[in-house]
């Protein structure tokens, strides 16, 4: 039996370069050698050499002369073929003697690992940090620093990839199309900055009472539906009467037989019932419409009547559950308002009669958008004492000016709203009790912030469309703008000449100063000194040739830029530039001080979020939509809160400079009230994430107890223990199994067998080529089975299959690491993982280095990783020491 096709083949095809390729195709000096243990020779001799030798060369392939050392790409490629054909079960051929399962699994395990080492050696960047362009988020951050507002940059490629950080220079490409996009985005950004500037003094306020028009609309709907129901009943009776006629009995029976799956066959096919009238006579377009109005819509009328009876709807409005008519959402718009910063205020209250999980609202842009929202808020106000929620928003020159307010999770993926409605209907017989009451929505323009550096630079020439500026003034302003845009560097005189010529040309042809200025500035934002993080040697000191030897350290300005793009994903601010100019960054204490300042700044989110998202592979959280029927309260709000927990926990540990080990085990969590509620933690109310002490015995605390991490190891329906186990090995234990292979037949639960997940997975380990990885991965995944797909604690699981029934079983988390210690349950597993904090620290250091230096870690980087681990170990693995060790290193400070 062959279960697996050549699934390991694809994964190891990763980076083994073709032999004629570049310099890097040979390992760095002193790199650990990629050598297979000589003990495997016996297996190769016994099972391979007879056919694959100098004389026979079956399949034009020799193994007898294959070196055990994978020193170059050609050898590695050949070993990959060996691995592939063994994995595929093709070799040795079925009619030949087979190696023992254990020996084969061990050999495959070793070979896969050796290939990984070989690949790492061949990919070693030798510590060179190559110039790179800004990635998408850095580009947006940089424009924000320049103009004081965040542009939309969705059109640009995201720059994230499966196997690298978005800081990896070699993957940050540039093309003609992209240049044109930068030009366009630059024009849009400048136009927006101008619009904001021109409206600096504009005052705008608006308030909408939430009850406006609501009762009237609902009452009108009730009237229409009542009428519709009456017409429907008249039609229904007429059809029933026709169907009941004795002479029609045969026709009706035939119809019912033909449409045995169709409920209410006689109405759907009224035309087959002689004498039945057309629904058109009663005002319906067809039978489907008649049934929809007369039954579906009618069923909601009691709920509408209830809504009408609520006195609170005279002074505000209760929000209702989406899809189910009354008022699907509350929307208001700010049409015609100019670009700028605004605050929206909601006066709201929550009912004390409803499930606490429902006392949250979602706020967002674009009234038609069903899934995503911009922010979510706990509603703590009561009808007696409503609260006011303030939400800052930004309006761009174009884009939606409509906003919605709704109860959380009531406009999610299809299953959620009906499910929620159903839960409420069971409770009250009519529909869900009303949870959130809205009094009014108010918006107000915020006073303009002080001009951002880019706008300051051109303040003297901004003028208006008709303004005439002298060439001297213009040149001065353009130079100042370039200095800001180019992170402290002056443009060349030749570039300024060109810019002035472009300005003059456009001024002449359009007759508009602003248009000409916009075009000129936009070009600056598409030029290489803006788009590339370039690190030339201090001007004139070293000739370009010498730099190829990587002899020099970074200049102070370049170091400041590298530091701020690492920790903020944004350019240095004035203080950092001043510190650089004073030479403070070349002094370890001065550098540490600035590093700490950057880490304490809110802009550090520009490191925390993208780094964690990519390091922990959190894109998986968005791979699957969660089944609303199974997990009605793991809605978009809960998912977003869960995602934020990962970032906020890290931010908290960083702020308090706590141990990285607290990501493995902790006695507190950092949650907001929505997530506390999801985890069943009492005593947390209101918005905002904060540390909360956990009750004894709680499974929460640390990454493994986080809903986001657990949900990533699922497919939105069921848990995926293999995914979870592999993630733990990769991210927590720094002991990655070979990369996720493609071509694996997934564990579809399609076998017509009612067996447990563990039984199903264990079947995999019968094949040695599968066992070589799964014996390491699966036990850890099983240890996490007490968490369901949405991260809730459970003690049993079940499997259901139509026609077979349902099997329910108790979760058995006990297991053991491969060739390692045993654990009885999740808590013991967590302790064992926590005991390996140093391995985790090493993995973290490696990721940090790759992110900061923009290349994958090779042997050359090992000493720095050692240093980072040692430095932080000496201080109990406090998070900031990893950063300090990295930032203070020669590698970080040189080209």
């Amino acid at each position: 039996m062959r279960i697996l096709p050549s699934h390991l083949l694809a994964l190891l095809s990763v980076a083994l370069v073709s032999p004629e390729c570049n310099l890097l195709a040979l390992p760095a000096e002193n790199a650990p050698k990629a050598v297979l243990d000589a003990k495997h020779l016996a297996l190769l001799k016994d099972h391979c050499h007879a056919c694959h030798n100098a004389d026979k060369q079956k399949g034009k392939f020799r193994i007898d002369d294959l070196s055990l050392e994978l020193a170059d790409a050609r050898t590695a490629e050949r070993w990959k073929k060996v691995l592939a054909s063994l994995n595929a079960g093709e070799m040795p051929p079925e009619d030949e003697k087979q190696p023992s399962k254990e020996a084969k699994a061990d050999f495959l395990d070793d070979l896969a690992k050796t290939l990984v080492v070989a690949q790492r050696n061949l990919n070693d960047s030798r510590g060179v940090v190559t110039m790179r362009r800004l990635n998408r988020r850095e580009y947006a951050n940089t424009l924000e620093a320049l103009f004081g507002m965040r542009p939309a940059v969705d059109e640009l490629p995201s720059d994230t990839g499966a196997n690298h950080f978005d800081t990896a220079g070699s993957s940050l490409l540039m093309s003609g199309d992209q240049f044109d996009q930068y030009l366009e985005l630059g024009r849009a950004a400048v136009a927006e900055a101008f619009e904001r500037h021109d409206h600096a003094g504009t005052v705008k306020t608006k308030r909408i009472e939430a009850e406006t028009g609501v009762l009237e609309a609902v009452a009108k709907s009730v009237k229409e539906r009542t009428e519709g129901r009456r017409n429907f009943m008249l039609w229904k009776h007429a059809v029933d009467a026709a169907a009941a006629r004795p002479e029609n009995r045969a026709a009706v029976e035939a119809l019912r037989k033909e449409l045995k799956d169709v409920h209410e066959a006689t109405y759907h096919r009224w035309d087959k019932v002689p004498g039945a009238p057309s629904p058109a006579k009663y005002g319906f377009t067809d039978a489907f419409h008649a049934l929809h109005v007369g039954q579906g819509q009618w069923a909601q009328v009691p709920y509408q009547a209830w809504f009408l009876s609520m006195p609170e709807n005279r002074t505000g409005t209760w929000l209702t559950i989406g899809d189910v008519f009354v008022r699907p959402y509350f929307s208001f718009n700010l049409d015609g308002w100019p670009a700028g910063d605004y605050v929206v205020r909601l006066r709201v209250a929550a009912s004390d009669k409803v499930d606490a999980r429902r006392r949250f609202l979602e706020f967002g842009t674009g009234a038609g958008n069903p899934f995503n929202h911009d922010s979510r808020h706990a509603v703590t106000g009561t009808l007696e004492s409503p609260q006011i929620i303030e939400i800052p928003i930004t309006l761009h020159p174009s884009g939606s000016r409509s906003f919605f307010v709704r109860e959380r999770g009531t406009h999610d993926a299809d299953a959620n709203p009906p499910k929620r409605f159903g839960i409420g209907q069971q409770e009250t017989g009519v529909g869900p009790d009303f949870a959130i009451w809205l009094d009014y929505v108010e918006a107000e323009r915020l006073p303009a912030k002080p001009a951002a550096p880019g706008m300051q630079a051109i303040a003297s020439v901004l003028g208006d469309a008709k303004t005439v500026v002298t060439p001297e003034d213009l040149r001065k302003a353009l130079d100042a703008f370039c200095v800001e845009a180019f992170r402290g560097k002056h443009p060349s005189a030749a570039f300024l000449d060109r810019l002035q010529a472009i300005y003059a040309d456009h001024r002449q042809h359009t007759g508009n100063h602003r248009t000409a200025l916009k075009e000129t500035l936009a070009l600056t934002l598409a030029s290489p000194r803006f788009l590339y993080l370039n690190e030339p040697q201090a001007a004139g000191i070293l000739p370009a040739v010498a730099k190829a030897e990587r002899s020099g350290n970074l200049g102070a300005e370049e170091l400041a830029i590298r530091l701020s793009y690492f920790l903020w994903g944004a350019p240095p601010d004035a203080e950092l530039r001043t510190a650089a100019a004073s030479g403070a960054l070349h002094d370890p204490e001065g550098l540490q001080k600035q590093t700490d300042r950057l880490l304490a700044d809110p802009r550090a989110q520009g490191w925390i979020r993208p780094f964690l998202h990519q390091w922990l592979r959190m894109e998986r959280l968005d791979f699957f939509r969660f089944n609303g029927n199974r997990y009605p309260f793991f809605d978009v709000s809960a998912k977003e809160a869960a995602r934020t927990e990962v970032f906020e926990t890290f931010a908290y540990l960083l702020r308090e400079n706590r141990s990285i080990g607290e990501l493995l085990r902790a006695d507190s969590v950092v949650v907001d009230s929505l997530l506390a509620n999801y985890y069943g933690i009492e005593g947390v109310s209101g918005d905002g994430f904060r540390p909360v002490k956990l009750p004894d015995g709680s499974p929460r605390g640390g990454l493994l107890g986080m809903a986001a991490i657990l949900a990533m190891g699922s497919n939105g329906e069921h848990t995926n223990p293999v995914e979870r186990g592999a993630w733990v090995l990769r991210k927590l234990l720094n002991d990655p199994p070979a990369p996720a292979p493609a071509n694996v037949p997934q564990l579809t639960r399609l076998q017509d067998k009612l067996i447990t997940t563990r039984e199903r997975l264990t079947l995999h380990q019968e094949q040695p080529q599968c066992a070589s990885c799964h014996r390491r991965i699966d036990p850890i995944g099983f240890g996490l089975e007490n968490f369901d797909a949405a991260g809730q604690w459970r003690t049993e699981d079940s499997y259901e299959r139509a026609g077979l029934g349902r099997k329910t079983w108790q979760i058995e988390p006990a297991g053991a690491f491969h060739n390692g210690p045993a654990f009885q349950d999740y808590q013991e597993l967590r302790e064992l993982i926590f005991a390996r904090t140093e391995a985790f620290a090493r993995g973290f250091s490696t990721a940090l280095l790759e992110y900061a230096l923009g290349h994958s870690a090779g042997f050359t980087d090992e000493p720095l990783i050692d240093h980072m681990v040692a430095q932080s170990r000496a201080r109990g693995f406090q998070i900031r020491h990893f950063v300090h060790a990295l930032v203070g290193s020669k590698e970080f400070q040189s080209k």
């Binding site: 980076a15 110039m131 490629p157 990839g161 499966a162 240049f179 030339p536």
Partner: protein
């Protein structure tokens, strides 16, 4: 303009001189149709793979005598005019969410230690050979899904990658394609010329700046900056081509302007009709279309999310996958009908000179072997009406090589090809 050309020539050896014979070069589609109809190529990439159980024919039935599986059933009327091949794959492909990034390139993404790289796609090889004759060397089309470069298709701006392995942007709606093909330029000629001149002075300015920056850089940084120069050069070439064509009126549209904001099956059908019109008017000879995924499902009334569908197992998800297969096949049958309905000057049909490829780098779920490959049309002279099963792991690029060669493109290899697929010409 001399300074810029000289600069491009001298600044870096890797930049070839833009080839500007163009000012005197006049050969418009409107002028005279060539005696022998030219060869055309269409690549349709679907992203996620197919439903294995119902899309692939039985491997035991090869040749012309095979039973069409349910997933291909809507193509029954064209059965003698297309060939399905099993056994092809891109051996370097490893990312199981990437159905399009390497589909036409066969690149080893990590060669030379890169974390991501790509190489030229087969359509662009053809465009380089055929493109001089037409207003557009090639046209890249995308479905209007919001994020088409996520799981399913993978990284890219369209199916096409240029000769340096950089992504080429595409048009995202039938309406945009219609305007590109048929809408006359709004600006009078002198305005157009002014706009081009202005664009050139923008390029001159950034080149000046790039040149200045380059002086202080180390060798590997200079190589990185070279991508920027290359990007500018692409725009230069595009401008030169635009210049050649700007005084020639666009052809009259052989069909009505499509409505805006159509998605799913409507969008694909409109796009197919326009693709035929593009070939019919000889506006281009090479087209790629990165098909929509999510909006297609929505238009089919499928409630399952796209990625969930790709992880199908019996039940709702598998049904969704099969519905999607059927929709694609029906639309493809429509496209072939259209191509057969366009007569050529010599009395043959457009279909006889066009190659249509439908497929993906993913076969099903997360599997990257046995890439679904369906080829129709007489453009490359392959044997049609066949079900071919080639030996396992035959390079998919062998198929691309065969089609390129069969269409008259003088290439000896493409991607990781080891030679043309002899079976196609048996």
């Amino acid at each position: 303009m001399n300074t810029r050309r000289q600069f491009l020539r001298s600044s870096t050896a890797l930049i070839a001189l833009p080839f500007l014979e163009s000012f005197g070069f006049r050969r418009f589609a409107a002028a005279a149709a060539p005696a022998t109809p030219p060869k055309r190529l269409i690549f349709l990439g679907m992203g996620y793979g197919v439903t294995k159980e119902t899309w692939y024919p039985d491997v035991k039935q090869t040749g012309s005598d095979y039973v069409l599986p349910p997933g291909l059933a809507p193509l029954a009327r064209h059965k003698a005019d297309f060939t399905v091949i099993q056994g092809l794959s891109n051996r370097y492909s490893e990312d199981a969410h990437t159905g399009s990034t390497f589909w036409l390139t066969g690149a080893n993404s990590h060669e030379g230690g890169a974390s991501f790289r790509n190489t030229i796609s087969a359509d662009q090889v053809a465009a380089a050979a055929f493109g001089k004759e037409t207003r557009f060397a090639s046209l890249q089309l995308n479905g209007s899904d919001k994020d088409l470069s996520g799981p399913g298709h993978g990284t890219g701006l369209s199916l096409a990658w240029d000769n340096r392995g950089k992504p080429i942007a595409g048009l995202n709606s039938p309406l945009a394609l219609f305007h590109r093909l048929f809408s006359p330029e709004q600006l009078p000629l002198d305005q157009l010329r002014l706009r081009m001149a202005q664009k050139r002075s923008l390029l001159d300015a950034v080149l000046t700046e790039a040149q200045d920056l380059q002086r202080g850089l180390a060798k590997n940084d200079i190589e990185k900056l070279d991508e920027y120069f290359q990007g500018i050069r692409e725009i230069e070439q595009r401008l030169a081509k635009d210049e050649t064509w700007q005084s020639a009126p666009k052809p009259t549209a052989p069909l009505a302007q499509p409505p805006d904001n159509r998605s799913g099956t409507d969008e694909i059908r409109l796009m197919y009709d326009l693709m035929v019109a593009a070939l019919q008017t000889d506006s281009t000879r090479v087209l790629t279309f990165r098909l929509p995924i999510a909006s297609l499902l929505t238009s089919l009334g499928v409630k399952v999310a796209a990625h969930d569908m790709s992880h199908y197992s019996p039940g709702e998800r598998m049904e969704a996958s099969q519905k999607r297969d059927a929709a694609h096949t029906e639309l493809l049958a429509h496209l072939l009908d259209k191509l057969k309905g366009v007569p050529q000057p010599d009395g043959s049909r457009l279909f006889d000179h066009t190659t249509v490829v439908f497929g993906s780098n993913l076969s099903h779920v997360h599997t990257l072997t046995n890439c679904p490959t369906l080829i129709a049309g007489g453009g490359a002279g392959i044997q049609l009406g066949q079900h071919l099963v080639v030996s396992k792991d035959t390079p998919l690029c062998n198929a691309w090589l065969s089609l390129l060669q069969g269409s008259g493109v003088p290439v000896e290899r493409h991607g990781d090809s080891s030679g043309p697929l002899k079976e196609l010409f048996a």
